[in-house]
Symmetry: D2
Subunit: 341 residues, 4 copies
């Protein structure tokens, strides 16, 4: 059901033309003549009308505006599925009562370092290891990641520690190699609207962690999940990682209200990444706690054995001992809202 608002001066004849157009699509028109505006309520299954055809209505003579009432996403919507989606990864569940923690360095920098930090985050209580083998970098002169070599180290870390692996895909051509080594495929913020890549992971048989674009609305984010799901892969989780605003005192503005909002609009799990959200290690802890209290299903946290030597994002990484302390502080908060961590 959509609504067409006519201009005050729209003639009877224009109304007839629009009504005929609707009837051509098998729809009916309910006309309300107000004192200042005439409004046409469109009755019938408007999903037969594409977004383009609706947009075209807006430029028809006599039309002031076309309002959409129905949500443009379906598979991702709470209406489509009333119960929360629980995604099974290895022996773990994301979206269940247990709040999962994904920890590790921003980038895979080498074998030794990765294995060492993996063991430490495992010991502190995390079940997932996060680290990038392909890194999106603002500068062409920056470290771009180890590529497949990095993926192999991740697989080795999984074997040694039992941690499940989350890593980012940057290019559709890497889909096979990524699927081979990882447990969850991450779509980074800059690729949230790389639609060809979304279709590619939509055809894969792996859970997908979909980061929010730097300036993406909740609706666009849901549409990107819909892209993936429309290809058959329903194992999608959102990851809030901060949006771009006018404020520069933090790296991004972590929008925690996205958590309850997504929970209302969708059945998919929601992850929060406070490390990218604030960009300063000493603010990660309070924001991780806040994310848990707000209802996040999982946290993604950067941990590096030696942030001073990190090849990427050292400024926002926690040292392992500090991460361990954070884990112990998160437990009572999770308990306070009736969840495990």
């Amino acid at each position: 059901m959509d609504i067409i608002v006519l201009r005050p001066e729209a003639a009877e004849e224009r109304i007839s033309i629009i009504v005929k157009k609707l009837e051509g699509w098998g729809l009916k028109a309910n006309i309300s003549k107000g004192t200042e505006r005439t409004i046409i309520g469109v009755i019938g299954d408007t999903s037969v009308v594409s977004e383009e055809e609706e947009d075209a209505l807006k430029v028809m003579e006599g039309v002031e505006n076309v309002l959409r009432i129905l949500k443009p996403y379906k598979l991702a919507s709470r209406e489509f599925r009333k119960d929360n989606t629980e995604i099974k990864v290895g022996d773990q569940i994301i979206g269940g009562n247990k709040i999962q923690v994904m920890a590790g360095p921003c980038a895979v920098e080498g074998r030794e370092g990765l294995l060492a930090v993996a063991q430490k985050v495992k010991d502190a209580g995390a079940n997932f290891l996060r680290a990038g083998a392909f890194k999106p970098r603002t500068s062409p002169y920056s470290f771009q990641g180890l590529g497949e070599e990095g993926l192999k180290y991740l697989a080795e870390a999984r074997e040694k520690t039992g941690l499940l692996v989350v890593t980012e895909i940057m290019d559709a051509r890497d889909i096979d190699v990524i699927v081979k080594y990882t447990d969850i495929i991450q779509i980074g913020a800059r690729n949230m609207q790389n639609f060809r890549l979304l279709l590619e992971v939509g055809a894969a048989k792996k859970p997908v962690l979909l980061k929010r674009g730097l300036s993406s609305t909740i609706k666009e984010w849901l549409m990107s999940a819909e892209y993936i799901m429309s290809r058959g892969n329903h194992q999608v989780m959102f990851c809030e990682r901060g949006i771009r605003t006018f404020e520069t005192a933090t790296r991004n503005t972590l929008d925690l209200s996205a958590v309850p909002l997504l929970k209302k609009l969708s059945h998919l799990p929601v992850v929060v990444d406070p490390s990218h959200g604030v960009g300063k290690w000493d603010m990660v802890s309070p924001m991780a706690k806040a994310a848990v209290a707000a209802g996040a299903d999982a946290l993604m946290i950067e941990v590096h054995s030696n942030p001073e030597e990190a090849l990427s994002d050292g400024e926002q990484s926690l040292r392992p001992d500090y991460f361990k302390q954070l884990m112990s502080e998160l437990r009572p908060i999770a308990a306070a809202i009736g969840r495990d961590i």
Copy 2:
């Protein structure tokens, strides 16, 4: 200490002119000649140089940029005062271990309704009553508040319930009447940079709750606190109430990272208003919990006996029973971080 960056092509002669200018202010110059740029480090007490004089340096021939290293605020800074400021209001403390709750309707709409809701928020555990007698409204055709009559009802509610009162000042001419009836003077978001009003409350002997402007940076917010403090009133608390971003799915974007950031930069207490932050009553509860977990010293929450009849902001108000439930859910979270509520 400030830094002056010169253009690559700046001649020796330009450097001399700048050095002389600095010496005229009683400062010294430390010149570093790099391979591409020459940089002048300014040594001495640069606070003798006004912001204007510094800006003027930027347009001097040969100057590429002037960087400020020192913070432009002093009294509000953590360096000025290492310990957290605790503000005593009646028999309550804001900024201490106890997390305070300020609850009530957006606007004072009438005597009966106010007294009824005041009793209910008191019973649920709040110690402060919030409600506006002077209302900033986007439309000249909207309800503008009851004025002094509303203030009298607030005073009566305080007398009957023991709740302390927080209410907004909109105009410097109202300062006497506001001071007469309220316990905390609220500066609304739209007045955060109404500098004449800041000076006025700076001369008053009442605590001030300073809401963040819709698009104000943390630094500008600290500067507005500095305005108030510079007139002698050091009883200032910040109140995060959401900033304006591109996202329209929520009324504003509640920036909870402002809580740990302000705690790091300043010694003043921090309040969070999740009602204005999200603008939807069913998202107030998770965001209130998140605010507590992030370290807020107080919450400001809209409660209305009958949101369907509210003359202002009904959409974001909680019903009293729902508020009572929220209070009971906040207690274990406060306990989890070692605080009372």
Copy 3:
């Protein structure tokens, strides 16, 4: 005419309750039952329903959303007045075929300087002198303006040069002294939603230049003009001066699309201030030209005899000779769109 969208599960009974509520206001309901949603079109004069009452509808059980079709402003709208408003100031017209130029220093800093620069902008072709006697400053430690003394210098400059004066009001208590000395009262960006001040200038008998708030939407800006006009003063002109965005390479982001948009929605004149818009003197010239090409009715430009010594905003001020050159470059552009300057 407004539209009420019901939730999919809303019962018949809820519809009846809403219809009765509408009838209580003397309105009628046109009900459209779609396959997924029921929609109520409200027929009759909805202006009898206040914004608050409408908001309250949103929290009624069964209601998903309430959409407003009519614009909330009237006097400022193009529908209210088809012809462009021309504002007569002294012997000049703002909003006519001639593009007016308002030039001068950011702040009145002293008598000699002001008189000197006034003569120079006059000679270059400007008809209005702009300068602030009361200055909004982010820091309490910055120069705050000369106050009434500054206004007297402005009046003297007018007498000597014939230039008309534009100056800012910051506080309602200054209304009489401002009205006494100025030809156009300026409302600064930070006061665009200082509603008490808007009502005050709405009662004055002087033209008002209303700057856009740092993060104000076009609709809010129109509502602020409506505030002034609702008190009887219809001599309002808008002034675009840049909005706050994520971009920090310019001081603000000058939104020139506001010019044609305001021209479409309103009959009031539109001024553009490229100096505050970009904040760098060497970008003022191209943006001033663009403003003229976009259809601005006037330009407001900062000119200072010696930007290196300015007590405020020296970085964005033009030197008089550069301003003179700009004026000569603007003439052929104005001619190209059929206007004078």
Copy 4:
């Protein structure tokens, strides 16, 4: 040359550690001890230090901040090349005295329609035909473009009219087919930071039109140009198409100040796309004029024979006769600033 600001409490010993670290990179330290802060000016060729290594400095004990003075881009900078870059495409120049116009429908929808509109934009004076064969669409259920079939129609239109072709690449796997049919490869806003795609077009031997990301800063945009140029392709032009802000009255906020700013910072040509910038056909004309006055080297404008039937972005497309009128109105403005169009 970079600057390291130390915390007030940083001990002598910390300074020595940092100085040694700098010396390890072959750099020297110039230490300025102020009354409140110590500052280290780094002397030598700091380009040997990667961005990561610099970031790591920020988390060293005792360091408060690290400031970069030098620009992170080189090939794209005005310092690298003083003269404007002129890009030769077929028999046309972009970046020269003639302002080029790229016009056509948003998407290639069919052979007949494309050939018809191509002839019309050619007759009106455009030299370039723009249209997408691969379309980025927010919804998976929207028209996604004709793919290679669309490219063939574009090539046919070029043959028939002599217009040069601009079309978008969305995926690295399409590089060969895109290069085969187009004259300028367009990188869309959503792919501005698709770094793998940037490297791919960087290796191609075709001019690249790089649209600005929805929330990309000027600096990030320059870095994306640097990515392309770092692979050897120096034929890059920028295209401003509006940024995302809080304002929703226009589709985006067209940031025309990007034109003079890019001209100052870079030697590359700048194109403006007012159609996407404002999103409403009736505001395209004033913004196109403003772009020319601001100094744009080219315009990209959507033209569709029948916007009411467009499969994409009909709302912002001009009809051919209106486009023809716009071209005639642009000529005197171009002449007023001494250019052809």
